[in-house]
């Protein structure tokens, strides 16, 4: 029982260490990324982070789907007409 | 069916074309007059003198429209009855070869006349003359080949000159651009090595145009 406890605490420490380490790496990576962003050409980062880009995608998709549906309807109507003439 | 392809027929057709040209003289004279008046007008409009690259552009534009003028006559003068007569007598390829050769020679004459008029009125800024002459020969061969086919097409629409120039414009853009670039090289007196690839391109276009014209003409002739 006590052995298990010791093992458990060791495990906890290991996990904490790993997390800490990972966080450090991630952190430095993020900072590096940020530095890069400052140097790099400007992009619409704020717009993107606010999540508004999904609205644009949604609108464009709806426009396109409507047009495509209309095309499908035309296609089916044409098919009916062809059958009639035949 | 058509009679077989025959070189003597081509020569006979060519002889006919040139004989007609010499008898009538009107078509060549009208082209020369056209070139002269255009060059005179441009001389008047560019009073302060023409820059060398503008010279090249102007030269090829004059040549292009003079070429359209010249080649558009090659099928309109043929009457329907004579067309049928030719159809029974000659192979379409013989016919088109003679027309193409005639048009190319005509364009070369037009080239010569434009060079003379340009040199006389505006000036002759070309430094590499041999390159310029080669460009003229190759470029007007390409123009002659495509204009022959286009004039045959436009004669089928019954609507003469305007359709002809519209039809030939997009087809001749590659030829014109390559020739313009070569002319610019000749004017600037650049080294030959710069111009080799453009010469090659122009030559390939020449071959493509003439072989296409030979291949496609038989489909136009069928009535």
């Amino acid at each position: 029982m006590s052995q298990f406890k010791i093992q458990n605490s060791k495990f906890k420490i290991k996990v904490a260490l790993i997390f800490n380490f990972a966080f450090l790496i991630l952190n430095s990576f993020c900072f590096a990324q940020q530095n890069k962003i400052e140097d790099a050409p400007q992009m619409a980062d704020t717009f993107r982070s606010e999540g508004k880009i999904y609205v644009v995608v949604l609108v464009l998709s709806i426009v396109f789907v409507c047009l495509a549906t209309y095309l499908i309807i035309i296609d089916r109507k044409l098919k009916k007409l062809e059958d009639k003439v035949k | 069916m058509h009679p077989n392809l025959n070189t003597s027929n081509i020569i006979a057709l060519l002889k006919k074309e040139f004989l007609l040209e010499f008898r009538q003289k009107t078509s060549l004279a009208s082209i020369l007059l056209y070139v002269l008046s255009i060059v005179f007008i441009s001389f008047l409009s560019f009073k302060s003198g023409i820059k060398p690259d503008v010279w090249g552009a102007l030269f090829w534009l004059v040549l292009f429209f003079a070429g359209i003028n010249a080649a558009s006559k090659s099928f309109f003068t043929e009457s329907k009855a004579r067309g049928i007569y030719n159809y029974t007598l000659y192979h379409p390829t013989e016919f088109v070869i003679s027309k193409i050769i005639y048009n190319i020679v005509l364009l070369w004459v037009v080239c010569l006349c434009s060079v003379l008029t340009f040199g006389w009125m505006i000036g002759f800024p070309v430094q590499n003359v041999l390159l310029f002459i080669l460009t003229l020969l190759l470029g007007s061969a390409a123009l002659g080949g495509s204009l022959t086919l286009m004039s045959c097409i436009s004669s089928k629409t019954g609507n003469s000159y305007s359709v002809m120039s519209l039809l030939s414009m997009p087809v001749c853009i590659p030829v014109m651009l390559l020739s313009l670039r070569l002319t610019k090289n000749a004017i600037d007196g650049l080294d030959w090595s710069v111009s080799y690839k453009y010469m090659g391109g122009l030559f390939i276009i020449d071959v493509i145009i003439i072989s296409l014209s030979l291949f496609l003409f038989r489909y136009l002739w069928k009535e």
């Binding site: 790099a40 050409p41 400007q42 992009m43 619409a44 880009i53 999904y54 644009v56 995608v57 464009l60 998709s61 396109f64 789907v65 495509a68 095309l71 499908i72 035309i74 296609d75 044409l78 007409l81 062809e82 003439v85 | 495509s146 086919l149 097409i153 089928k156 629409t157 609507n159 359709v163 519209l166 039809l167 414009m169 997009p170 087809v171 853009i173 590659p174 651009l177 390559l178 670039r181 690839k197 453009y198 391109g201 390939i204 276009i205 493509i208 145009i209 296409l212 014209s213 496609l216 489909y219 136009l220 069928k222």
Partner: protein, 225 residues
Amino acid sequence: MKHWWWKIAAIALVLFSITMGFIGNVPRLDILNETIRNLYFHVPLWFAMLTQMGISWFFALRYLNGYNIKYDILSSRAAYVGGMFALPGIITGSVWATYTWGKPWVADDPKLQGVMAAMLVYFVYYLLRALIPDAQTKARISAVYNIFAFIMTFVFIMIYPRLAPNSLHPGNGGNPAFGRYDMDNSMRMVFYPACMGWILMSVWLLTILNRMKKLQYKLDNHESI
């Protein structure tokens, strides 16, 4: 619903390109900035146009080999669809160029010149078809013009960019179509499906126009083709 799968695929591919085109990652480049995403919407139009041009050219040849009016209908419809894709292509190109190259029309770019030549060929082809009243003559003459002009345009698009040194388009002086765009792999994953989708859409439009014209022909001439 037998032949519907590729139409659905076309819609799905274009939808995918719209979604990933905005959400996906793109390289950060000077001048281009976010406009690099135009690549997913502008360039596929050209691929669709070139496909239609090829179809039109191929069936013009088929028509001359046997004079079957069926092929003339297909060839001319493909030319119409091609022009329909070329027009937005040239307009979007102009808009894009205004904000990146500073001018709506850059004079000395071989790709623009080639594209303009193709547009002119299309318009003259339509004019030629409108001018000749008789159906068979129209088909024959326009097929000849089609073959000649499109070969010239193709030669121009393929040869001239290799010769001319100064193109603003990517892949300078090299391969005129593919070549190295400033694309990374994540962009390619969107770009190729987008091209595929728009090509399929153009083919779909072509089949609809073709069937319509055939139907009209059937009604006008009381004969089946």
